[in-house]
């Protein structure tokens, strides 16, 4: 019988406020429903562009994160030994005075004695600026161990990148290839997009050793072996080239495929793009009598070049065949309406020899090493599958091409009546990034996109404003300090030549993490993972204070976690800590808290202002430039402060430039004040919406005191639409670029030339070959020469973290590295000892480690297990459900194994960051997170096989988490539960 009293109309709460979620990195819009001042319910904001009303498991559990018992209450000062978690509570004034004393003292000596590293921070527009004003080079966020390979490969190739700087054309793609994408990056937008693709009948292919999450709903799962994606992408390119399934017109219009590359082995200009006197790249083009040029070239006769017959090639270049004796001339490659040539060897007007860059790319990937037959076994993908995938890509790109009736004007001023699209989209993430070959692998995937004509066309990958930027973007890392102690620019950036590196006169690293050194020249996001070790070793020099925000370096964000925890406690001979001061900022009692001398408790994301800025990591989508704020929806019920407020307070106490007034008073009351009033350049601040005194300006305009109120009235986000004529081809679309220039995103209407061939890399290689003013030390030359190949290539991981050196030790390794050219691939020496690859991923309900430790999410999973293919288990005589050992050269961990057929047989995997350290997170004494849950981190060495280098990509320094090789060992008592770690005996 019905309820006597059924409440059908109970209000959700008594108040609702919008803000931006911070339970992961997506930055979805949320509505927080309050009841009597407490959070009652959080749901997605239907009006928000990122999530369109949906909300993930993490986002909806934010309420339990906010009310977590693990939240810190008050500043803490260490009273026991480091690691013992013995603190006393102190007042904020005392805490900030102490921090200001440490930081002020060291800044007077040498600002680089501060290492300021933030974790998965969304306020880098502030933190990087703060580091710049403080004057330390030793700053970065967590990108070095997350995705810098994706960012750098994208930026250096096409001035954008996967994830935040672009997206698949969800509305029009007919085919989506997901490379190494687990349940992450990003979360809700990808899920919304996959749903759209599914409803339209698009095919989804997941290239991944593990089938879960997105791969589980994909049409096709390609269980590639970890670290071989670049080889597979290379084989797909091989197939496309072999079968002439390439969008050549796209290549010569938008990429540097036709640019002539100087061929002069041993010379200082070998491998550089040939340029005319005006600095423009040159190309060979058909004679104008065959292809009339309606736009007379502005070049001089000499620059135009004499009519030069094609020369028979040598050294692998083809000889011209019958009917290929077209006459050509050497012209400015950027001219419109020319008929560029993409193969052959040409003589430049000055007599040098050059070949189109496309030919170099083609020679690389047409080589037998990239034939499907050659890569199949190593990749674990049948030859027929590789061929079919290539054919499907080409079929979709060319036979299913789409054409939108959108008129647009290109950068040459030529009108076009429509936009042709290649409806093949790709997306890649950490499965590609987290290998030491990730940079070149990601670049190979981008080349695959370029060859298909599938960057920023209808149906393919699309840029998010403010991208595209020049490839690479024009901002280089700061290199000098001004008289006021601040840096002459942001500490991070994109080096374009060896002169941009941060090295001393001997070519040694200047930064603590060795970013922008010859070890990791393009480390655009720094190497957070190397900071603690280098700080302890004083490499390149000792620091005074390690200042960490939201980076759980005492646990799941560190390689070799147990050792890292020891390092944090390491003392010198005099008994002093080798890292004299550690300041840590966190909202929760995470594992790293125990190692801090001073803990500054942060608020939750529901208690503060925040800024998701176009200067940092905006929430733009392909059709909109957008940014967002967080507003405090509840007041803290304890003595905690927003980190951003604390940072500005410290800056004022330290009288850092622009943070204190002449009388020493703070220049900004708090972060909200900074968000509104700070101008990075005249009229440009952190927020783009409602600028100008009356709020009528977008992107540029005077600060508007009512700006935050306007954001709050509009759901805490701002978006402005890209004009329709600028919808695609943004790298060369005048309609888009004019809009982007009006928004301050680009400086000019110059097209962005997509870098099939990456000349920047060649500049570093030339330095390694002994050319130029800035050259690497002798010890680094072979390595730089090998990995700074302007054409992407595949190589087996050079890190194989911590594996024993092959016979002959370093000598052997160096000899192999000394070969500047990729060799036919050979099996790693370690194959027998550690035959399995081990990788991790985050479950969707815990996407990103922070904010995943709460009472609801841990009911879904409070522990993890190791998933292994059933045949692999059988071969080890281990049964599903047994406890067994997983061993690497670092040691071994005891884990429960579980059969999972949707795993490549040579791979084992687990959910990451569920395992916790005993005592952390205010968990009970027998919480499964530490009795049974585990981290793979213990098995991952911080050093590469050659211990002089961090375990990372030799181009970018990206942490090579997924290069881990392991073996499975049975346990004599397989039915006795219990996780533990046994370090290897040194």
């Amino acid at each position: 019988m019905p309820h006597a009293h059924l409440e059908l109309h109970r209000p959700t709460g008594d108040e609702v406020k919008t803000t931006t979620c911070y339970m992961c990195a997506c930055r979805c819009g949320i509505r927080v429903h309050l009841q009597n001042g407490r959070v009652r319910y959080i749901d997605g904001n239907p009006a928000h562009p990122v999530n369109q009303g949906v909300i993930c498991a993490k986002g909806a559990s934010g309420i339990m994160q906010h009310y977590s018992p693990a939240r810190l209450r008050k500043p803490l000062l260490r009273v026991g030994e480091r690691g013992a978690h013995e603190f006393r509570e102190i007042e904020w004034d005392a805490a900030l005075a102490l921090a200001a004393q440490w930081l002020g003292d060291l800044r007077a000596r040498n600002p680089d004695e501060l290492a300021f590293f933030t974790g998965r921070d969304q306020s880098q527009a502030l933190t990087a600026w703060w580091a710049q004003q403080f004057g330390t080079f030793n700053y970065a966020a967590h990108g070095g161990f997350c995705s810098v390979n994706m960012a750098a490969a994208g930026m250096y190739t096409f001035g954008g990148s996967f994830w935040e700087f672009g997206e698949p054309d969800w509305d029009r793609a007919r085919y989506l290839m997901l490379w190494g994408v687990a349940e992450d990056h990003d979360s809700n937008p990808i899920k919304l997009g996959l749903s759209q693709l599914k409803s339209r009948g698009a095919k989804i292919v997941a290239i991944n050793p593990v089938r879960t999450g997105y791969a589980s709903i994909a049409d096709e799962w390609v269980p590639v072996n970890p670290g071989t994606d670049g080889l597979l992408a290379g084989a797909l390119i091989h197939e496309l080239l072999t079968r002439d399934r390439v969008d050549f017109d796209y290549l010569v219009r938008y990429t540097n495929a036709h640019h002539l590359v100087i061929r002069a082995p041993g010379a200082a200009d070998d491998g550089l793009i040939a340029r005319g006197a005006n600095g423009k790249p040159l190309c060979a083009a058909r004679d104008p009598t065959q292809a009339p040029d309606p736009h007379p070239s502005p070049l001089s006769r000499r620059e135009r070049g004499e009519e030069i017959p094609l020369r028979p090639g040598d050294g692998g270049a083809p000889a011209p065949g019958e009917g290929t004796h077209a006459r050509c001339r050497i012209v400015d490659a950027t001219l419109p309406d020319i008929a560029p040539l993409i193969a052959g060897e040409y003589t430049l007007p000055d007599g040098r020899t050059a070949v189109p860059s496309f030919q170099l790319v083609a020679e690389r990937f047409l080589a037998g090493a990239y034939a499907p037959e050659a890569v199949s076994e190593r990749c674990g993908v049948p030859v027929a599958t590789i061929r079919r995938l290539a054919a499907e890509l080409a079929h979709t790109a060319f036979e299913e091409a789409i054409e939108l009736p959108i008129a647009w004007t290109d950068t040459h001023g030529r009108p076009h009546a429509s936009m042709v699209g290649r409806p093949v989209a790709m997306h890649a993430m950490r499965g590609i990034a987290a290998h030491a070959n990730g940079f070149h692998t990601c670049r190979t995937i981008h080349l695959l996109q370029l060859l298909l004509g599938a960057i920023d066309t209808p149906g393919s990958y699309r840029y998010h404003p403010p991208y595209p930027q020049p490839a690479p973007p024009g901002n280089q890392p700061a290199r000098t300090r001004k008289p006021d102690g601040s840096l002459d620019g942001g500490p991070l950036g994109y080096p374009q030549s060896p002169g941009d590196l941060l090295v001393d006169a001997d070519g040694r690293p200047r930064r603590l993490d060795h970013a922008f050194s010859w070890e990791f020249p393009l480390a655009a996001h720094g190497l957070l993972q190397s900071v603690i070790r280098n700080a302890v070793e004083g490499d390149p020099s000792r620091i005074d204070t390690l200042f960490l925000f939201m980076a759980n370096m005492g646990w799941n964000s560190a390689m070799d976690s147990a050792h890292t925890r020891e390092l944090l406690c390491a003392k010198d001979a005099a008994g002093a800590y080798r890292i004299p001061h550690i300041i840590y900022v966190d909202a929760y009692d995470s594992e790293t808290v125990a190692f801090a001398d001073l803990v500054l408790p942060d608020t939750t994301y529901l208690e503060r202002y925040d800024c998701i800025s176009l200067l940092d990591r905006p929430i733009s989508d392909a059709d909109h430039a957008a940014d967002a704020i967080r507003q405090p929806v509840v007041a803290p019920d304890r003595d905690v402060r927003p980190f951003q407020d604390v940072l500005l307070d410290l800056g004022a106490r330290l009288r850092l430039p622009h943070m204190a007034n002449a009388d020493g008073s703070p220049a900004y009351k708090n972060y909200a004040d900074y968000m509104v009033r700070h101008e990075r350049a005249p009229g440009i601040g952190l927020l783009a919406g409602w600028r100008g005194a009356d709020g009528s300006h977008t992107r540029t305009g005077a600060p508007n005191p009512a700006q935050l109120q306007r954001y709050i009235e509009h759901g805490c986000f701002f978006e402005t639409r890209v004009p329709e004529a600028g919808a695609y081809y943004r790298m060369a679309n005048r309609d888009y670029l004019a809009w982007a220039r009006s928004m301050g995103f680009v400086a000019s209407l110059e097209p962005v030339t997509l870098q099939l061939y990456c000349e920047t890399l060649q500049r570093f290689r030339l330095a390694a070959q002994g050319h130029g003013a800035v050259q690497p030390p002798a010890s680094e030359r072979a390595r730089v020469a090998r990995y700074f190949d302007p054409v992407p290539f595949w190589y087996p991981s050079p890190s194989d973290a911590g594996l024993p050196l092959p016979p002959g030790g370093g000598t052997n390794a160096r000899t192999r590295d000394a070969n500047p050219h990729p060799q036919p691939f050979s099996r790693e020496e370690s194959a027998e000892s550690y035959p399995l690859s081990a990788i991790t991923q985050r479950p969707m309900f815990m996407y990103h480690a922070w904010g995943s430790q709460n009472r609801w999410l841990r009911q879904i999973a409070a522990r993890n297990v190791l998933y292994v293919h059933p045949q692999t288990l059988a071969a080890h005589r281990i049964a599903s459900g047994d406890w067994a050992w997983l061993a690497s050269p670092r040691g071994r961990i005891r884990v429960e194994v579980r059969a999972h057929a949707a795993t490549a047989p040579g791979t084992v995997w687990t959910w990451n960051a569920i395992g916790k350290q005993r005592g952390a997170w205010k968990l009970g004494k027998r919480a499964p997170e530490f009795t049974e849950g585990f981290l793979l981190n213990h098995l991952i060495g911080e050093r590469a096989r050659d211990p002089r280098y961090a375990n990372g990509d030799p181009v970018t320094g990206q942490a090579a988490w997924f290069d881990l090789k392991v073996r499975l060992e049975p346990d004599p008592a397989p039915h006795t539960p219990g996780h533990r770690f046994e370090p290897a005996v040194a």
């Binding site: 019988m1 019905p2 109970r10 309420i63 589980s216 083809p318 009472r855």
Partner: protein, 293 residues
């Protein structure tokens, strides 16, 4: 014992698309969150920070490995058994299709003839005449759990009356201990006039990031949900029990992987332009390629 109302014309329920469910648990948490603070909450959690955290959930997501049959295109009856498969999930070395993962959200199906209602000794468990929603009136529930035994779908959960950790850190005390709880189809949302019209849907439906959950009247053949069910071959869960579930599941669409499209020609005839030169090495073919910038 409790009697069922006369069959209602209106049959509110959920349609869950197993083709797009990625197993993210968004629906489960959104459900927990809404109902924890809603008219049917709180939803108890036992030992929330301890060794055995567990609690009441109206909606849970299970993930299964599935070995598709060798001939995936062969017509087959779609049932839960056929989806979940009983074959060992090991296709390596055979020509079996790749194993799949199916994510299966499970909640009350609001059956038309459910024993969970008829077994109730107090009338606490009942089916609404006006829309078919099955509810529990906790004021009448004595916690005997007969209904949970009667439900073959595991849709009902009870918070036992002896919590290990009585204090709730959300400031609420768990008052619903000892009574049966279950999916209400968010009856306190779907008619709720304090919500915007677009928000009058179950929390799980609004949350789902892949839009794999639909809500509507399955008694109306012209409703969106009924049309989708007809179009996609939506099926009832374990109809053999005879409870006539209202909710429907949409089966995964056939996957277009190597096993299903290998025979489909995807390589069209070479374009005329390349016919003459196809036998040449590619670099030679491209020497005189006519391109325009």
């Amino acid at each position: 014992m409790t009697s069922l109302p006369a069959p209602a014309k209106k049959k509110l329920g959920l349609v869950i698309d197993l083709d797009t469910c990625v197993g993210c648990h968004a629906c489960a948490i959104a459900c927990k969150e809404w109902n924890d603070g809603g008219a049917f909450g709180p939803l108890a959690d036992d030992d929330p920070y301890g060794a055995d955290p567990h609690g009441v959930w109206f909606n849970r997501v299970h993930s299964y490995e599935v070995q598709p049959p060798a001939h995936a295109n062969a017509p087959r009856e779609v049932t839960l058994d056929s989806l979940m498969g009983t074959a060992p999930p090991d296709a390596a070395g055979t020509d079996m299709p790749a194993p799949q993962m199916v994510h299966f959200p499970r909640s009350c199906l609001h059956c038309e003839t459910p024993d969970c209602v008829t077994v109730c000794p107090t009338g606490a468990s009942y089916k609404r005449a006006e829309d078919g929603i099955v509810l529990v009136d906790e004021d009448k529930c004595i916690g005997c759990q007969l209904c949970a035994w009667a439900c073959p779908y595991g849709a009902r959960e009870i918070a036992l009356p002896h919590p290990k950790t009585p204090a709730s850190d959300t400031g609420r005390t768990d008052q619903k201990r000892g009574t049966m709880q279950k999916c209400t189809l968010c009856v306190d949302r779907i008619y709720n006039e304090t919500l915007d019209a677009c928000d009058r849907q179950p929390a799980c439906v609004l949350a789902c990031p892949t839009h794999a959950r639909l809500f509507g009247d399955l008694g109306d053949p012209d409703s969106n949900v009924s049309k989708v069910v007809a179009e996609r071959g939506g099926f009832a869960l374990m109809p053999e029990f005879g409870y006539q579930p209202v909710n429907r599941y949409l089966p995964p669409r056939p996957r277009r992987d190597g096993s299903t499209i290998a025979a489909t020609p995807t390589q069209p005839a070479p374009r005329a332009e390349t016919l003459d030169t196809e036998k040449l090495p590619p670099l030679l073919r491209w020497l005189d390629k006519a391109l325009s910038r």
